[in-house]
């Protein structure tokens, strides 16, 4: 009797955990895996495994954080310092790729996943070149010279062109960098990563294509205002079911979700 009671309670609590959203998960909102599978999955962000898993799961694309080493190799990594998540120290921009290429994420018990370059990623994902990629350009280097921007941008375009990536959006916080990219490649999709009003003004003024913004900072009215002006909206920080529901409810163009499994389940319903 007691076992039956415990089993009943367990099954009931498991079933109550299966969230059925009332929101329609429209195909108009594209599913972009944040750093691959997002922060709620145990493949660490920006690892090859996380990115490949998201694409194999059927997402419309993935977001990758991009940093550049001292010897101009583009690396997929989120944090400023390696020691925040890895078994190596220092900032990416001060490191030589050869020295850190064997670095491993130390967050997880038992499992070890490695740091990867963008070259490593796209060389091994050629079948997904038609997916959409958001490159979040992380400019942690104190070097803000035109020469540095030129070097960074050249490396990014080498990846895009070299692997024939068809849909790449560059996410930029810095207006000078955004203008520099636009100057050398006018058709490049650029999303501005600022508060909504600033980003909208910058997009209208400079012909940038979109805004990347926290889901907490936008509403249906914001999205409609952006669309009226021909500006697309990508939302971030959708790390709960409610936040993902909200992204689809207000109709953002791209949901950079941290809950790929949940969103893909809702889309299949």
């Amino acid at each position: 009797m007691r076992i039956f009671l415990i089993l009943s309670v367990t099954i009931a609590s498991l079933l109550s955990g299966c969230h059925r959203s009332d929101v329609f998960y429209s195909d108009d909102t594209k599913v972009i895996g944040h750093g691959g599978m997002g922060i709620t999955h145990d493949f660490p962000l920006n690892t090859f495994e996380a990115i490949a898993f998201a694409l194999h799961k059927g997402t419309d694309g993935v977001e990758i954080d991009v940093q550049m080493t001292e010897d101009s190799v583009l690396i997929a990594y989120h944090h400023k310092m390696l020691e925040e998540t890895m078994d190596e120290d220092g900032a990416i921009h001060n490191q030589i790729w050869k020295k850190i290429r064997n670095a491993e994420y130390s967050e997880l018990l038992y499992s070890e996943y490695g740091l990867v370059s963008l070259d490593d990623i796209f060389r091994n994902l050629v079948e997904f070149k038609d997916k959409r990629y958001f490159f979040d350009l992380k400019m942690f280097s104190p070097d803000t010279s035109d020469l540095y921007y030129a070097k960074f941008t050249r490396q990014v375009f080498q990846i895009i062109d070299g692997y024939g990536l068809e849909h790449v959006t560059l996410e930029v916080k810095n207006l000078r960098l955004a203008k520099y990219i636009q100057e050398i490649r006018p058709n490049q999709s650029i999303f501005i990563y600022q508060d909504f009003d600033t980003a909208l003004d910058l997009c209208i003024e400079n012909d940038f294509q979109g805004i990347t913004i926290d889901i907490d900072q936008i509403s249906l009215a914001h999205v409609e205002l952006a669309h009226v002006n021909g500006i697309k909206v990508a939302c971030i920080n959708t790390h709960s079911k409610d936040r993902n529901d909200m992204a689809f409810k207000i109709g953002v163009d791209y949901n950079q979700t941290d809950m790929v499994n949940y969103v893909m389940r809702q889309k299949r319903r």
């Binding site: 076992i3 145990d42 493949f43 690892t47 090859f48 495994e49 996380a50 490949a52 898993f53 194999h56 799961k57 078994d87 290429r101 130390s106 997880l108 018990l109 038992y110 499992s111 070890e112 996943y113 490695g114 990867v116 490593d120 060389r123 091994n124």
Partner: protein, 177 residues
């Protein structure tokens, strides 16, 4: 959080109502099945434990378990990651409160991507483990609950502290006299 759990275990170990050193008629099932959360199986594991030597002061056990972190690899194919903890345990205490000390190895095999191979690779690792637990089990009770601290030398490289909590059901009610 971990810091406070360390304190909790120390308080429980030193609490005056808990006295170690007698096991008669308490934790003496020959076989038990345990379901553990946040323990050596990372998220959860299923273990079989067998008593190998009952004693006046302590009971000795061997335990083997299995856990799967995930069943699909990065290509969304069925290639499970498997964790197998194998532990030797000694349990001291009387009535409902017990101290459990353990030592053993955890074996894990998991799917990963190898840049050098340009494809899937399967990592195999061993990690030695030492553990201490507060164990609550009422005399003759089939259920028991544990609060555990493990010290794990992950792949013989990285020292980790790990906190676990488990609930187990004991079957095959064979009390040793």
């Amino acid at each position: 959080m971990k810091k406070y759990l360390h304190y909790l275990v120390i308080v429980l170990l030193l609490h005056p109502s808990v006295s170690w050193g007698q096991t008669r008629d308490t934790v003496n099932f020959k076989h038990s099945i345990q379901i553990e959360g946040l323990g050596l199986g990372r998220y959860g594991s299923l273990s079989y434990r067998r008593m190998i030597k009952p004693g006046e002061v302590a009971n000795f056990y061997l335990k083997g378990g299995v856990s799967m972190i995930r069943v699909l690899n990065y290509e969304n194919k069925f290639k499970p990651d498997i964790i197998v903890p194998i532990m030797a345990e000694v349990v001291l205490g009387k009535k409902s409160h017990h101290l459990e000390l353990s030592a053993g190895q955890v074996f894990i095999t998991y799917s990963t991507f190898s840049v050098a191979k340009g494809g899937e690779d399967r990592e195999k690792e061993f990690s030695p483990v030492l553990g201490a637990a507060y164990l609550y089990q009422r005399p003759y009770g089939r259920w028991h609950h544990r609060l555990i601290i493990y010290s794990i030398l992950d792949d013989y490289e990285l020292q980790r502290k790990w906190i676990g909590a488990s609930t187990a059901y004991n079957f095959n009610f064979k009390r040793k006299k």
